[in-house]
Symmetry: D4
Subunit: 214 residues, 8 copies
């Protein structure tokens, strides 16, 4: 068949395989979701095209489609209990919101309490400094930024927890599709900053969930 | 003067500023260390040249020089108490050891219990599979690898905690000074993998410490 | 004319020129195929657009179109006899299947016995380890992977035959259109791994056929 | 001969040609300086090697060698009068000082009042915020930073004058010799930030002088 | 909400936040403009799509849409008084005009007197040399060029004021989307040349305005 | 206006300005052509879109559109006399033909005798070796090739005249839009090979004309 | 310890682990060799520094040092029997010889019959065409070339067996340390060409041995 | 042996093989020169190290060593007759002279009349404009420039012959070892400009000789 679904990941890694929707047909995703649902308590698909979401919604009526974040989530039947940790997500600009939303949905699927602060980029620092309380209370902060990707360094110097930097492809010219932001984050002078792939909101939210629930 | 030591970082971020030794004279490092020691419980210098270490050892007799990891550490007077969490460090090859050592010293400065497994690269998987117990018990795994940087993906699929991937400049030709390993780690299909800069053992150990002590 | 078909390649190299369909009109491909068919026992076209395939099917009724692999093949009239060797093709993910199919069709055109294992990426190793028998019996293994391209190194450490690594453009962000996977494969620490161009399923299958039939 | 000294630049552009010392012998620099001195009121050489400086000092006894900034300057005989404008120079780290010094010497040669703040990088923002008065009074700010190059964006959002960003090659791994800092600065979300070449302290100081004296 | 408009920038930096239209919906831009207009004397949007302009024109009847430069500007009610300085804008080719126009509109929003000379590239120097009067009278020159980006170096050697070089993505092949022009400008042997991002006419015009009004 | 046509180039350089059609409207091209025609004996436009060609054909009835090469040429009224030199153009594959045609039209506009050999790539050398007579009689050879761009080195070793190598964007994956071919040509071990930009058939044909007519 | 020698590789893969000498001390290599020798019939070290070779020669008296190829080989006690296949190695220039030698030693360690043809680059084709007999009789050809890396395409079109292309870092400027040659080889229009890492003579010889012995 | 000297090149291409000295021992060069001298009228070696030159001078007493251009030339016994054409060589800066010298020696070996103008870069145009007579009389102009590589475009617009642009590695930071200059030259808006590899003075002089002697 077209897929070898990794059903033991839940046992081995403590979290189920999340479906990477990009480059898969709606039927393939439906098929993999059904296999997962048979064995797990829920399912999450990322990078879902709008038409694919329409199809999935027909098949899985209680699935939740986040159109900005391009996710499709089916919650499990079991009550997850109280939230397990606090994740703060910060975006530098309005255009970084889709990636921030993907991170938010993923961290919530981990049963974390998530706060999202949008458009608080470094060229207007007071917007960030006014929100220090929110940041200070988090177990982990996910910082989403395009262009020069400077926000994680600033946030990293203000908090005492890990910062997961998610570069975005927002920008033009010498941003080279997010490369400038990515390089900035990898070279951050703040020692608590780690990075994931460009536009990888999923990974940012996922590892944030892993850390917060500890 | 030549430096504005960030003395509030200990309060603000919960961990003191670590001195980046590269490009600083032995005298500059000595000066900064003395300022730090006046205000904090200890100090850590990374990327210390051999001659610099000799100088520092003369001044700070109880400082510990790790020549492989190129670090110089002065422990604080206060007893740190029992270790706060478990960090596993894994290196793909023998040549990745210096970076692994830098990570180890840093995580130990965080008062974590650290285990280091060397030379367990993906071309001989059994070497890794025999050590699953060690990995399974860790709060976080730091994976250090050069060349194709494939090890974090394999480790990520075997554990249920975050994996911090540290690419190294080990290799030649199309490894482009660690770029190949870095790109591999950023594109890891294992969802629990985050990355830091090439040869950034310090960052790997630092964030591992942050996560493990939670 | 627009083409100088290399008719002696069959004699010189033991295999006919295969038509690279990309950037050619349906009429040009038809013309070249007719020249080839006059002199050889069959013909193979790669990178065939859907509409081109429709046209070719009209002209060459017994041609076989593989829509996933984008190939069009016309078998020769002569019975090729029993298969000449065993080729295993492995893909890391579902999205790598088109490139895997192109490799499969090409190796079959070499009269090899081909087995294809799909979606057995390194983040879920057991999927691969369960298939070691298939891999062990092959004369050569073609490994198709995008993203970090780690699978060839793992496979290379498990088999005693050459591994031909085919990077794919599957991924996003810092995968840079397959560059990350390509670099990973070129830097493989497994010594039996060689690489071909990004998305070059044809080359992977072709050289596998060359090796297997020896 | 080996050089066509551009003697009319002083008239055409209002400022004399500055000698780029890199790749020139001490004798060549001496020769060009003598030509310049015959026609102008002074002379400035950048990127001067230590041994070259010794040679020049022997020939031009009243020349001033800045060993950190690698410059050699001969003041003109004419009293330049009161300083013509205010230039603030800010460096992110101690290692960025040489480039900052090159900028300082150059802006002073323009007869500007120059203030230099060292080691006020973004991971410890309070260090910068305490110096807002200095920055606020400047006609132009030169920001010198390596690694992720985030400081110009933060400074740009705090001042109402142009910011000239000078990336440095300070860093390692994915800093790629200053490329990460350069890209960060070119993509700055602060609209008053322009950039010059990596390690081009001379250009930063020069254009700052041009702007401040207006 | 989707935006944290930086309302104090006018006070802090002396100029209001300009809206980056790319990746924002017409409704989002309308919303941000309304907030800005409530607090400032006018508003400027860059990178406005044609349909967005139609929408904005309906809402803000006295807004001015520059379709070539892709800007939308609402002048303030207060009379700005006489122009504050002279900005010359020079483009190398006809295709660089859109970026030149973006620069022109922005500098005019700064209340500067702007002259634009189009299509005076370096392969026909006389076209430029005939315009030396215009250039000579400017407080600052913005030079817009694609392909090899050589024009700023030539202009820089002819004027005694700062030159802001704006590389464009005009060209093909090894221009790599403006990278060749950008690198050329960063490496300019004319010491009065600074650079901004590829196609960043806005930044060129903005900093030119900042300098000219001093 | 939008253009400063360089009318003296014919006098200064011996050849008129050729219009770069890319990014210009049909009306702009028409306008520039009319200015040129008023002063010169003919006109040439490159990179002409199909619809633009239709428009130009309506205005300039005796203009010649080469749709493969994307050129539009208006011959001058004056009889150019006998051809002035011999140019051979060689393409590696069928897909390189459009670039080869652009070169051919340009060299013919120089009044050269042009021969074009298509699809004689290095993997089937006999195709080239059979044409040595044609190559041997040329004053200059233009070699057009994509993918690995190896053909100019082979041709360069067989002829005693200059070889102008034109890389094309034909290929996929690691051809990176023609970069691989360009680098190959710049590194050619044949000492008589020079290179122009990717897909720059115009430049290849133009300089070939310049050399051949001497 | 510093190494986890993969002792089962001989059983699993049919060939022992070869020691990558780069970045290892003479003592570390000695140690690993002794472990290998205890379990295998011989040992091979690549990238051996001259001083390391002197040390190893003292310890292992019957070890063979190839100074050009930088290898150190200890033959096993068991008679390997007659050669198992034919490997031809071809280098484009004299400077590519060290990489060619590394390939030769490795293939001979596989008990293959190896022929090496040096300095037969594409700018003088007759040198290659005179050696067609040698190439035609081989089971596999290893082609070693720097600069433009065109030789594998030419050889690939002349033989009916697999061609393993080994790019070298020979060249300057736009060869970018072997990148140009590598890209050329990956984009080869000859379908039987696969590539390994830059300067990876070991891999070329190893896979050639694997193929030839089948 | 280590070399297959291409002795027929003189016949086939009209010019003998020139020895690339880089990476060859003095003895190898001596050997190749002796073979060449036996069959040809002279010999030229490029990229000769100082010590190698001393050795060669001992063996070939009438050889001429150009230490700036790093060449070693042995003239033939036959009188070459009057010079065959005019080559002008122009360098942008003093530091570009070594590459200019390599070009000069090579073009002179072609028996051309060569004029070299040094240090006439674009930031001081009058230096170039004063030399238009020299340029105007040439059959071909070689332009050698580092940094932004703008000079060939300016020269190209002033002359009616081919311009061979030779980028140099002079510069720092974002010059990336000559890449900026190379890209600038490839993207030249002057249509008579072709390019060779970075620092390839030999190729520039060689092709200039080929063109001039026609
Ligand atoms: N947006 C995403 N970015 C990166 N990895 C993802 C994303 N979504 C899912 N994944 C991972 O991709 C793998 C599944 O890939 P697949 O088998 O192609 O569905 C799982 O390991 C997921 O954790
Ligand atoms: N450190 C520097 N970086 C960049 N350009 C410089 C530097 N120092 C001097 N220059 C410029 O280089 C040119 C002189 O180069 P040269 O003729 O090689 O001495 C002048 O235009 C100077 O303004
Ligand atoms: N075309 C442009 N290029 C770069 N920056 C811009 C542009 N237009 C506006 N900006 C800046 O982008 C910031 C606003 O971004 P945003 O919050 O996303 O609207 C402001 O600081 C502006 O000065
Ligand atoms: N020159 C070489 N280039 C690439 N890989 C090599 C080389 N020499 C040995 N190897 C491989 O490197 C691995 C051993 O690495 P190590 O454990 O660091 O000695 C083995 O898998 C060898 O096959
Ligand atoms: Mg904003
Ligand atoms: Mg090992
Ligand atoms: Mg999968
Ligand atoms: Mg500091
Ligand atoms: Mg024009
Ligand atoms: Mg063909
Ligand atoms: Mg040779
Ligand atoms: Mg100069």
């Amino acid at each position: 068949g077209y897929a070898s679904v990794d059903l033991h990941r839940g046992i081995r890694c403590g979290f189920p395989e999340v479906i990477f929707g990009q480059g898969k047909t709606a039927e393939q995703i439906e098929g993999i979701l059904k296999v997962l649902l048979k064995h797990e308590q829920g399912g999450l698909v990322t990078r879902v095209e709008p038409e694919t979401a329409v199809h999935l919604k027909t098949v899985f009526a209680d699935g939740e489609h986040n159109s900005l974040g391009r996710t499709f989530r089916i919650r499990g039947a079991v009550d997850p209990g109280p939230a397990l940790g606090k994740v703060a997500i910060v975006t530098a600009g309005t255009s970084d919101l889709p990636v921030g939303e993907e991170a938010r949905v993923t961290a919530e699927a981990w049963n974390c309490e998530v706060t999202l602060l949008a458009d608080v980029g470094v060229a207007g620092l007071h917007r960030l400094l006014h929100k220090l309380d929110t940041l200070g209370g988090a177990d982990v902060v996910v910082v989403v930024a395009g262009m020069e990707g400077a926000l994680p360094s600033v946030v990293g110097g203000l908090v005492d927890c890990p910062v997961i930097a998610v570069p975005t492809s927002v920008g033009y010219g010498a941003s080279f599709g997010g490369l400038a932001a990515l390089l900035g984050m990898l070279n951050s002078c703040a020692s608590n900053v780690v990075a994931v792939n460009i536009d990888a909101g999923f990974k940012g939210g996922h590892v944030a969930g892993l850390i917060a629930r500890r």
